[in-house]
Symmetry: C2
Subunit: 372 residues, 2 copies
C-alpha cells in the first residue's frame, strides 16, 4: 500500500473508531469561573425548561448562541456539585467528565482555585483499596489505605495512623472521592501543616462487605438504610481493623500515634469508639457527629446521661458542626454536658449544614492538631 494513503487511512481509521466506540468531547462547555462567579452553559437543543440544581439553584436561559446559560456567585474556594434539570429530568453535565457519587446519586463537579483539593506539584502519597477479614462480622471487607509520600523509601520509619470514618449511606470510598482526602493529605503534609501519616478509611456499615458495585451483589442503587447496623457491631469489630493495619504497615501502635474521626454516623462511631476502647486512640474528631449513635438514627437521644467520654480522657476531643446542621441541637446539648462535667474539648463552629463542604473543612482543621 502506498505510504501516503496509509498515513491518511490510519488517521481516518482512528477518527472513525473514536466516533464509533469512544466518546470525544471537544466542547468548551465546562462551568467557567470568572472572578467570583461561575457561568454554566448547556447544549440542550430540544429543551423547553432548564435549571441548575445542587450547590447552585436557578433557571437557565436560552441564549442567542442556542445554548442554555446561568451564572451564580461563588461563595469561596470549594468543590461544587451540580446537576442540570432538563424538562423535569435531572442529569449530569454532558460536557463534564468529572462526577462524584453521593449515595446513589451522581453529581457533576468542579473545583475552584485555592482549595487544596487538587493534586499539587509535590510528593504524592498512594491510595490502596484492599480487603481485611472480620471474624466478628463474618466477612471479608474492603478498606482504603492512604500512605504518605516517602513511605516506600523510608523503610526504617514508622508512622502514626489516622482512622477516618464516613457517614450514613457512605462507604470506604467516600472520604477519598467526595472528601478529597488524599489531595488534602498530600498538600498539607507537603506544606508541613500535617504530620506524615497513614490514613485508613474503612467501610462503617457493619452489614456491608464493600461499596456498591464491589461485592457479589453486583451493581445496585444503594440507599441510606444499608447503613443501619446492630448496635456497636462496627465499633465492636474495630480492633480487627487496627490489627490488620498494624500487621501490614509500619505503624507506631500506641494511642499517642493513633487518631480517629468521622462525619455524621462516623462521628457517632468515633464517639462510641472512645467509650469502648478509650486507651486505643489519643485523638478524636466528631464532625457533624451523630453523638449517641446506636446503629440507627432514630435510636439516638439528646438526654442520654451516658454520652460522656470514658476514662482516660483523650489528648484531643475535637467537635465541629455547622450552625444549620440538623444535628446542631444534639451537639449543643452534648457540649454543655461536657462543660458541666469539666471535660475539655476543642470546638469549631461553621456556617452551613450537614454537607461535604464542611467535612472537608473540618478535616483540614483537624489534621494540624494530630500527633503533636
Amino acid at each position: 500500500m502506498n505510504r501516503t494513503i496509509l498515513a491518511l487511512t490510519s488517521l481516518v481509521a482512528f477518527g472513525a473508531a473514536a466516533q464509533q466506540t469512544i466518546g470525544l468531547n471537544h466542547d468548551a462547555l465546562f462551568p467557567r469561573l470568572e472572578r467570583d462567579s461561575v457561568f454554566f452553559s448547556l447544549n440542550a437543543p430540544g429543551a423547553r425548561q432548564v435549571s441548575v440544581t445542587g450547590d447552585f439553584s436557578g433557571p437557565m436561559t436560552l441564549g442567542a448562541d442556542s445554548l442554555w446559560h446561568a451564572a451564580f456567585p461563588i461563595a469561596g474556594p470549594d468543590l461544587y456539585i451540580y446537576n442540570y434539570n432538563v424538562d423535569g429530568m435531572t442529569v449530569t453535565d454532558p460536557a463534564n467528565p468529572y462526577t462524584v457519587r453521593d449515595i446513589a446519586h451522581l453529581f457533576s463537579y468542579f473545583i475552584t482555585p485555592g482549595t487544596g483539593y487538587l493534586a499539587g506539584n509535590l510528593p504524592h502519597g498512594s491510595l490502596t483499596r484492599e480487603w481485611y477479614h472480620s471474624d466478628k462480622l463474618g466477612m471479608d471487607r474492603r478498606i482504603s489505605v492512604y500512605l504518605p509520600a516517602g513511605y516506600n523509601e523510608n523503610t526504617d520509619r514508622r508512622y502514626p495512623v489516622f482512622y477516618l470514618l464516613h457517614g450514613m449511606g457512605g462507604d470506604e470510598t467516600s472520604w477519598s472521592e467526595l472528601g478529597r482526602a488524599t489531595y488534602i493529605l498530600d498538600n498539607m503534609i507537603a506544606s508541613g501543616n500535617a504530620e506524615p501519616m497513614i490514613v485508613v478509611m474503612p467501610n462503617g456499615n457493619a452489614r456491608q462487605e464493600a461499596a456498591p458495585g464491589e461485592t457479589t451483589e453486583g451493581l445496585y442503587a444503594t440507599t441510606m438504610d444499608r447503613s443501619v447496623s446492630p448496635r456497636d457491631s462496627f465499633e465492636g469489630s474495630f480492633g480487627e481493623i487496627i490489627d490488620f493495619i498494624d500487621s501490614n504497615y509500619r505503624t507506631v501502635p500506641d494511642a499517642a500515634h493513633r487518631a480517629v474521626a468521622g462525619l455524621s454516623m462516623g462521628g457517632g462511631h468515633t464517639w462510641r469508639l472512645q467509650q469502648l476502647m478509650p486507651e486505643t486512640f489519643g485523638y478524636y474528631g466528631i464532625f457533624s457527629g451523630a453523638v449517641g449513635w446506636k446503629g440507627n438514627p432514630d435510636l439516638m437521644k439528646e438526654d442520654d446521661p451516658s454520652l460522656l467520654p470514658a476514662s482516660p480522657l483523650p489528648r484531643l476531643y475535637y467537635i465541629a458542626i455547622g450552625r444549620d446542621d440538623f444535628l446542631y441541637p444534639l451537639n449543643k446539648t452534648f457540649r454543655e454536658s461536657l462543660t458541666k462535667a469539666g471535660i475539655p474539648y476543642t470546638y469549631e463552629e461553621s456556617d452551613g449544614g450537614h454537607v461535604w463542604t464542611n467535612w472537608r473543612r473540618y478535616l483540614t482543621g483537624f489534621l494540624p492538631l494530630l500527633f503533636k
Copy 2:
C-alpha cells in the same frame, strides 16, 4: 425532650438532610435484564424524542406509564455501555449511579450475569494508585498496581509481574475501570485459570503525569491527541517502571516471570518493547495492536520491513484482533511477515472491532498462557 418525639425528629431530620444535600434514588429504572434482552426505562417527562446510544442504538417510545421504553437483544455476557439521547442532548442514565469514563465521555453501564467482570465471593486482590519518578520523562508519574490475594500473608513468596498497557486516549486507570482487570484477575486466579501475579498498569502517554484530574492541570476534558508522544519516549523509559516495581514489590525479576500486553497504542508499545529490550519479558500480548507504533498513529505503515521481533524470540507472542477492527489489515500484513520469517505466534481472531468488549476477552484469553 420526649423520646418518642425525638425519635421521629431524628428520622425526619435525616430525611430532610438527604433531600437537601444528598441525592437518593429509589426508582427501579435500571436497565432490566430478562432472558436475552435488556429493557431500558427513562423518566423524561418533558421530552419529545428519546433514543438509546452506545452499545445499543434505537428510539425509545413513551409508554402508558409516562416512561420512555426500549428493548434490545443482548449478544452475550458482557459489560454494556449506553447513554440516552434526549431531544438532541446525550446524557448518562439518571437512575444508574454506575458510569465509566472513556477519554472525556461518560457512559452508564451494566454487566450481565456470567461475565467474570464482577466481584466474586472469593479472595480479593488489592489495587494501589501510586507514583514513581521518571528521570527520562522528567516527572513523577502515576501508576496502578494490582497485588493478588495472599500477597500480604505469604511474605516469603515472590510473584511474576504482568505489565498491562492502555490505548490512545487512555491512562493508568483504563484497565482497572473499563477493563475490569482487577475483577478478571481475582476471578481467574481463584479458579486456577491464572497464576497469582502482580499486574502493573502505567500511564502510557509520555507527556502525561497521570490521568485527567489527577495532576496540577486540574479538571479538564482529555483528548486523544494527548497520547501523541515522541517516538520511543514511553517505551524508552520503561526500564524505570520495571526498576520501581522490582524495588518495591516481591517480584521474580527475570524474563520467565515478566509479561507485557497492551491494547491498540499499548499493543504498539508492547511490540516495540520486544524490539527494544527483548531479554526483559518472556510473554507479549498485542491486542488490536498498533504494530509499528512510532508515537503517533499517522506515522505507522504496513510495509515496514523492520516490524519483526528482535532476538531472542519470546516464549509467547500473542496477537488478537477483531475482524471488523480498522487495524485488522495492518495486523494481517504483520502476521504474514511473521509467518514468512518463521516466527511463531499465537493468534486469536474475534468478531467485532476496536472495542473494550474485545480487550476484556483478549485479557481473559491471554492470562492462562502466562508463566507456565
